[in-house]
């Protein structure tokens, strides 16, 4: 089964969350100039006919009492990450399709959580409790139906299309609900006497393809309940890397190390926010004649610790004899695994309190960085070149 999770009026809801005084009022997030358009409107504003992509001036006309706010993308992104990380705790196969929407393949996981319905309710509950926002979830045997389902009961909805109910659902599904069918396609279909996917199924495929091109094939597939597209998690990120061309070519290892450490730190932070750990740490060196070298090492236990990645990256650089000046340096971490996977603890690291100290330090730095930005806190050893 596939879930489609769609946050309800995401931007506007975040604004309400951060400023409870907005509750119950019309909230419209969008460009501030008169040439701007509506990015999001809450459900109160929608009652006045305001919808996204509507020009702001028109929205002002329709809903004069609304609160107009500029979008705060960083804040939305932050909450989006939190939401995605909650989803990833339920299934490793999470595919974010935008800042407020994701597909999830829960095949095999649903029974762990007491069935599809119970699992979806748990997801909704956790997002509500931990993020403070509501979402709508559609569950269906494939992506396209899941997306349609999530839209059926908005806001705060849950619609499940069970495999056995799929057929009758498709029969009566209006083609206007089908993703990809806009105004013009919709009209063309209507002129062909097609208003539901059931009609599509009864229509000869070759004729449909003649009129609509390849979309005709796709539509026919949809009408048969087929959507082969798989949920492809972005956590299948193969590696996380950072590299910088230096202000000038140098052979000064201490100078290079500071760059390396800054990069390693940023990568570690990225790994932590992605919820993954990596086993292979590599450094990349481009010499002044553009010759490129990489050196890598695999460690036993996958890590997301700043300290460990810095330590290994610096060790790799130490082991590299510099013969020419260096113009570019970079670090990458690969062989990523989900941090949610069970981890066998190591007997010789247990008494090593440094490990838990490191983790707590990372957490503290992450929290500070999240709230005050990356310049708020950093390693003293990195300060010199800033």
């Amino acid at each position: 089964m596939i879930l489609h999770i769609d946050m309800d009026a995401f931007y506007a809801s975040v604004e309400e969350l951060d400023n409870p005084a907005l509750k119950g009022r019309c909230v419209i997030v969008g460009g501030q100039s008169e040439r701007g358009v509506v990015s999001a409107a809450n459900y109160e504003a929608r009652k006045f006919g305001v919808h996204s992509a509507m020009p702001i001036f028109q929205a002002r006309k329709s809903c004069p009492g609304a609160v107009f706010l500029p979008p705060r993308m960083a804040r939305y992104g932050e909450l989006s990450e939190l939401i995605m990380s909650i989803l990833r705790e339920f299934s490793p196969l999470v595919e974010p399709i935008s800042i407020d929407e994701a597909y999830m393949d829960i095949s095999g996981c649903e029974r762990l959580f007491g069935g599809v319905g119970e699992m979806a309710r748990r997801i909704k509950r956790r997002i509500r409790e931990e993020v403070g926002l509501s979402c709508s979830i559609g569950a269906a045997p494939n992506k396209f139906l899941a997306k349609i389902a999530s839209d059926m009961d908005k806001p705060d909805g849950l619609t499940i299309i069970a495999p056995e109910a799929m057929d009758s659902f498709i029969q009566s599904l209006s083609i206007h609900k089908v993703p990809g069918v806009g105004k013009s396609t919709g009209e063309r279909l209507r002129s062909m006497g097609i208003s539901t996917l059931g009609d599509v199924r009864r229509y000869p495929e070759d004729l449909l393809v003649k009129r609509l091109g390849r979309f005709g094939n796709r539509l026919t597939q949809f009408a048969r309940g087929i959507d082969q597209s798989a949920v492809t998690p972005d956590s299948e990120t193969k590696s996380v890397s950072a590299e910088e061309t230096l202000p000038s070519d140098t052979g000064d290892k201490e100078f290079l190390k500071r760059y390396l450490m800054g990069q390693a730190e940023r990568i570690a932070r990225e790994l932590r926010s992605l919820g993954v750990r990596g086993r292979t740490i590599s450094i990349k060196i481009k010499e002044s004649d553009f010759r490129q070298v990489t050196r890598s090492i695999s460690i036993r236990e996958a890590t997301q610790s700043s300290d460990v990645i810095i330590r290994e990256a610096v060790r790799l650089l130490d082991g590299y004899p510099i013969s020419k000046k260096i113009r570019l340096i970079g670090v990458s971490v690969s062989h990523l695994t989900s941090a949610a996977e069970p981890v066998q603890t190591d007997i010789f690291e247990q008494t090593d309190v440094r490990n838990s100290h490191r983790r707590r330090l990372d957490e503290a730095i992450d929290t500070i960085t999240e709230r005050f930005g990356t310049d708020a806190i950093g390693r003293a050893s990195l300060k010199e070149h800033k």
Binding site: P342, I347, T351
Partner: protein, 375 residues
């Protein structure tokens, strides 16, 4: 070189060399064994450079000399020969004729000059240890030896004879197994057998040699551990590395200790291991209200649950472990009762024999991060 020998003792002698020679080697002569005919005996020598095995067998020597031949083929020939005695002779161009009655095998040999030297004559001060003791010590530790090439110092057991005690330790970083035995004679603290690392393969050869009881003499010379049992001499190159300070990781305070019937616990764990796959082999141990509930949940396979009555009324404890590590750690326990000492969080679990310090296995938990996702 020409000798006659009883087929069964020749066959036995060659068979013992197979695990040493039988592997891919870049040096073809290491696929061979060295046969040395000396008055009254033949010596059979095999080596892979790390491990050397030399043993003597009674034979009738017609003409002394030496030659090397392929161990595997010689073994197969002797296995198929049905006569009581076998005759072995080196002909021109190092061809070796193996005959018995009307049977004749001809195989090409390689001159013994190219065979690596396996010294067997040095006389050293040795420590005598009953084979049974060694067998039991290695049985209790072998499984925990690391096979991770990144940790060469853990690719063997730490073997220490000191005072009247032998201790063997093995660990792969996830579990640590420790076995102790007392010696009848106190060897004092000067032994150079105190704190050597014997590689995994060497341990497995020693285990074969000590089968069948008797006594063995042990000594160390030039980074090589030598074990002599009757007419057989096994030389194992030691791992030259620093073994981690294992005493540091043995928990000093007791955690929550429950005692259980060994077989019952093993059966329960094997039931859990049905869920194990290469990727996942965790078991959740949940102790509360005089019960120990075992569950194993593998998204790819399913779920298993079992329960054992224990005597425990303290705070509820939930810890995850690798099923295999628990099973392997419990199997060596002598007797019917096993004691399991559990700590919450990242603390180690300790398997012991109640009232005895002859064996201990520390098993590190698996952090079950999925807990958070469940509610």
């Amino acid at each position: 070189m020409h000798f006659s020998i009883r087929r069964d003792s020749f066959l036995e002698g060659i068979q013992k060399t197979l695990s040493i020679v039988d592997k891919r080697t870049t040096l073809p002569i290491l696929n061979n064994i060295l046969l040395k005919a000396q008055p009254g005996t033949i010596q059979i020598v095999a080596t892979d450079r790390e491990i050397g095995l030399s043993s003597y067998y009674k034979a009738t020597i017609h003409d002394p000399g030496e030659i090397t031949v392929g161990a595997r083929k010689l073994y197969e020939m002797l296995r198929e020969i049905d006569g009581e005695t076998v005759d072995c002779q080196v002909m021109e161009n190092n061809w070796v004729h193996v005959t018995s009655g009307k049977i004749l095998y001809k195989i090409p040999g390689i001159s013994a000059d190219d065979f690596p030297e396996v010294p067997d004559s040095e006389t050293m001060e040795s420590i005598i240890v009953p084979c049974e003791v060694l067998k039991s010590l290695f049985e209790k530790t072998f499984f925990a030896i690391s096979q991770d090439e990144m940790r060469p110092n853990l690719n063997g057991v730490l073997f220490s004879i000191s005072g009247g005690k032998i201790a063997v330790v093995a660990t792969d970083g996830h579990r640590l197994s420790l076995a102790n035995a007392r010696l009848d004679n106190d060897v004092g603290n000067s032994s150079n057998l105190d704190g050597i690392i014997i590689p995994r393969k060497g341990v497995s050869e020693i285990r074969k040699l000590v089968e069948g009881g008797g006594e063995s003499a042990l000594w160390v010379v030039d980074g090589v551990c030598v074990l002599k049992k009757q007419e057989t001499l096994l030389r194992v190159s030691l791992i030259n590395a620093e073994y981690p300070d294992y005493k540091r990781v043995i928990p000093q305070e007791e955690g929550v200790t429950v005692q259980m019937d060994k077989q019952q616990l093993l059966h329960s764990l094997r039931r859990m291991s049905v869920m194990s796959t290469e990727k996942f082999s965790g078991v959740k141990v949940d102790i509360f209200d005089n019960r120990m509930v075992l569950t194993s949940t593998n998204p790819d396979v399913g779920e298993a649950r079992d329960e054992i009555d224990v005597s425990y009324t303290g705070d509820r404890m939930v810890v995850g472990y690798s099923v295999r590590y628990l099973i392997e750690g419990i199997e060596p326990v002598n007797g019917d009762i096993v004691s399991f000492d559990i700590r919450s969080g990242d603390g180690p679990g300790v398997i012991r024999v109640p009232g005895s310090d002859e064996y201990m296995c520390i098993v590190m938990p698996i952090k079950l991060r999925t807990e958070k996702g469940l509610d």
